[in-house]
Amino acid sequence: MSPRNTLCAAGLLLLTGFVTVRAEMQAGEQFPALDPSVLVSEPVPATTGKVTLVDFWASWCAPCKASFPTYAQFHAQYAAHGLVIVGVSVDENQAKFDAFVKQLAPPFAIVWDAGHQLVGRVKVAAMPTCFLLDRAGRVRFVHHGYHGAESGQELRREIESLLAEPPPST
């Protein structure tokens, strides 16, 4: 077998063995409704007609913790203009979830996806992952991880662009 054919075969083998089907929610798709029956919260915030930032976090995830002050700033600055921030915890341990929320006391809405039903539908590829939804509830931007000021600036630019868009006609 020539070296070229060997390389082709090796490439095919690699593709066969390691390609996995990722089904994470992509930009352009409709984000699932925040169902109060599967999310522990009091109450689940209303997001209809709002620009929504849905952040999947966990108490064991250090970048998640680092992102919260930035989201708190966004909440203070943009909530009056129509931004809703929802932090969705994927913690399995309620005590750790409670302690984290108590320690950071985020000013934005926090819900607990105790049964992993929402995150199981969205299938985030990394922790944290945040989805920016437009006023129609469609995913417009997806961010994996949190990279400090760089992520903050990018998110701010995207939030401002979505808030500037006209509301969808009913």
């Binding site: 075969a9 064991w60 341990n93």
Partner: protein
């Protein structure tokens, strides 16, 4: 004629499909990103004990006869 030359590669690829095809099955148990609380725990860190890390590094560089251990790129001169 190129077809006979490609045949071994195709056969190898078919064998690979057979052997590794199961690796892509969604039914396999996979730890999802949101299920990694245990893996992210402090006790899972290999360097959580500084003394043990120092001792392991000492054993490593003594055995390898190369000063610097894992953390420093060296030439392996054996000058420890």
């Amino acid at each position: 004629m190129k077809t006979p030359r490609l045949l071994p590669a195709l056969l190898l690829a078919a064998l690979g499909l057979t052997v590794f095809g199961g690796c892509t099955s969604a039914k396999l148990v996979r730890v999802q990103p949101w299920e990694r609380a245990t893996l992210a725990d402090y006790t899972m860190r290999p360097d959580r004990d500084p003394l043990a890390t120092t001792m392991n590094e000492h054993i490593y560089f003594s055995r390898e006869s190369a000063s610097g251990g894992r953390g420093v790129g060296g030439s392996g001169c054996g000058c420890n």
